[in-house]
Amino acid sequence: MNVIDSGNVAAATAVKLAKADVIAAYPITPQTPLTEKLSQMIDEGEMDAEYVAVESEHSALAVCIGAASAGVRAFTATSANGLLYMSEQVHWAAGARLPLVMCVVNRGVGAPWTVWNDHQDSISQRDAGWIQIYVKDHQEIMDTTIKAFRLAEEVSIPVMVCYDGYYLSHTYMPYDVPEQEKVDQFLPPYHYKHTLTPEAPENLNSVTMPDTRKDIRGDAAPCYMDIRYNLHDEMIQSIEKFEAIDSAFQEIFERGGNPVVTPYRMDDAEHVVVAMGTLANQFKVVIDRIREESGIKVGVLAINLYRPFPIDYIIKALEGRKGVVVYEKALSYGNQGALFGDVKSALYPCEKRPVIQNHIIGLGGREIKTDTLYETLIASCRKADENSGITDTPNWVGLQTVEPTAAER
């Protein structure tokens, strides 16, 4: 069924279709309308689930951890400081290998306070052990959230579905709402291998020692480092799983494809923009215009799956290009953009490494003008062509009251 509604409502509808059993949430802008919608649907009998109005995000994820450990599907959503407040639980859920799904409606992190969009919140949690997917439009919010439950439950790793605050959360766009029967066909009932039950008691997440210890049968049991290796290893394997899940989704819903990275006009591109979320979509317009007006052969590579980082996809897409320009809405302060660092590191082993540049843009909702993208991208392509003036430090685009220092020009 085609509807026109907000990104938050698309996410809420996906959670309803996925038949989440327990939802725990705490209000924070711009996530609030998503969880409000879920509580309304439950109150009005449209959705059969438990809604727990907790007193904090730390508790929101704790409720989900308890529920998922005890055998039911759980969901929460948050933004910015809410995500950081639950950070301890974010790490805990991954270490406990709980198949949770959480929507992160991306917002800048205080101080100073900002309610507007950037990616610093979820990027700051990239090393927590969650799968992170960045989506670009309302249909992707809907479809990816449904796929996220299947992925989380197949690999026993929690999944963050990240979408841009306001750009997607509060704007209205048409999208298709899948039929319940088809979602049921796609998403099997919840299953967790170590469900808490008196019939088969387990002591979950107990204290581990640095070295292996024997169990009651005398067999060596994995210890902390082995358990953490398994998380890393199975996270990398989840790239293939995500591809397979997307194929299964395509068969039932007749849409999807390119779940890991999405290329746009990449076939003949000499230069490639790398970006995540709505920014990648905005670049489609920009490069259409650049190709038309200046003849520069430029394409866009949207990174959808950010963790696990799809190194092979990056190499395949970018090796041999003249230039790669990474635009991003977050950074590792005192170093460079997180995505830039990751892309650069992925390309290091390549023989034909492109020239790679980094732009930081749109922090705290600073307006991202299409003209600005157009101008900075053309300048970056020219620098790459001439291979001059390339710096390894990020270029801050759109500063208004401060001038970048010489090293960053």
């Binding site: 438990e50 727990v52 508790s59 529920a67 301890e88 008196p198 979950l204 204290v207 169990d215």
Partner: protein, 303 residues
């Protein structure tokens, strides 16, 4: 089990012979939490799921992959016990199971870092039992003050004695008006056992706070751990009571104290323990005075 059966006092002879913990665990010698856990599980039975934050209990329950407990246990982060238990309870509701959910935390995990989640769970009228074993300091990290450490106590970060008073957590909980609040002493484990039997039959939020002597943390000889807890109750310093339907009544050994003409002085309690060495005699006198007045009030109210 009918209500009248539950109210009958359990004796050692009648205690469930089945054990729910394995013999041999990592508790310190003389640990009274160990007694509480063993006896408490006999009251709770097998149909339970536990949420446990970092505390001595985490250690007692065993290091991976060995568990000294036969119960399903969810170890959770320090601040999140009541919220995690809420999640388990929500799952039981969804699955249509009556399995009793039990949160079991220490005083730091309850009175300090866990207080926010605890308060919220009571306010939401969550249906589970929350047990706080109060050994009156952060014992698992090596004896640092908590908000339930009494005034005057020497800990590793109150080296001249704690200046502030003990936080009264059962009263804070009671102010939320939950279904059931009780105080217990590890030295009277059967009283704890029977209060658990009662709590199991009540729907809504049940809170049990237990005075839990800790020999290494309190500077008490292992063999005196039970005696010191008894001295606290018998001198009227630590009251055992329950609050159901908003009505408070003294219970078990404390109820018996009401009819005693003379209670032993509180000094007996302090003398057992190294941690009170810095306590000024004037404060002990003031405390004795406070206990006498409180009990005079109780006698007026309950006799």
């Amino acid at each position: 089990m009918s209500t009248t059966e539950a109210i009958k006092k359990t004796t050692v002879v009648k205690l469930d012979e089945e054990e729910y913990t394995h013999p041999g665990n990592r508790a310190c010698t003389g640990c009274t939490l160990n007694t509480l856990y063993r006896v408490g599980l006999k009251a709770l039975g097998r149909d339970c799921i536990f949420a446990v934050p970092p505390s001595c209990l985490t250690v007692v329950q065993g290091l991976y992959p060995i568990s000294s407990s036969q119960m399903p246990i969810l170890n959770v982060t320090f601040a999140s016990t009541a919220a995690a238990a809420t999640g388990v309870r929500a799952a039981m509701k969804r699955l249509g199971k009556d399995t009793q959910v039990v949160a079991w935390a220490g005083d730091g995990g309850t009175a300090d870092i866990g207080l926010q989640a605890l308060s919220a769970a009571i306010e939401r009228v969550e249906d589970f039992i929350y047990i706080c074993y109060d050994n009156e300091a952060y014992m698992n990290t090596g004896v640092q003050r908590s908000s339930t450490t009494p005034r005057g106590v020497l800990t590793n970060n109150t080296q001249h004695g704690k200046v502030e008073q003990k936080k009264d957590v059962p009263s804070i909980v009671a102010a939320h008006n939950p279904a059931y609040v009780a105080t217990c002493s590890a030295s009277y484990p059967l009283d704890f056992h029977d209060k658990l039997l009662k709590a199991k039959q009540i729907k809504g939020f049940k809170y049990i706070h237990i005075h839990t002597p800790c020999p290494p943390g309190w500077g008490v000889e292992d063999r005196m751990a039970i005696a010191v807890g008894k001295a606290a109750v018998d001198s009227g310093l630590y009251d055992l009571y329950e609050i159901a339907h908003g009505k408070m009544r003294l219970t078990g050994p404390s109820e018996k104290l009401l009819r005693k003409k003379k209670m032993p002085p509180v000094t007996e309690y302090f003398e057992y323990q190294g941690r009170f060495k810095a306590l000024e005699p004037e404060y002990i006198d003031a405390l004795q005075n406070e206990v006498d007045q409180r009990w005079a009030g109780y006698r007026e109210k309950f006799l």
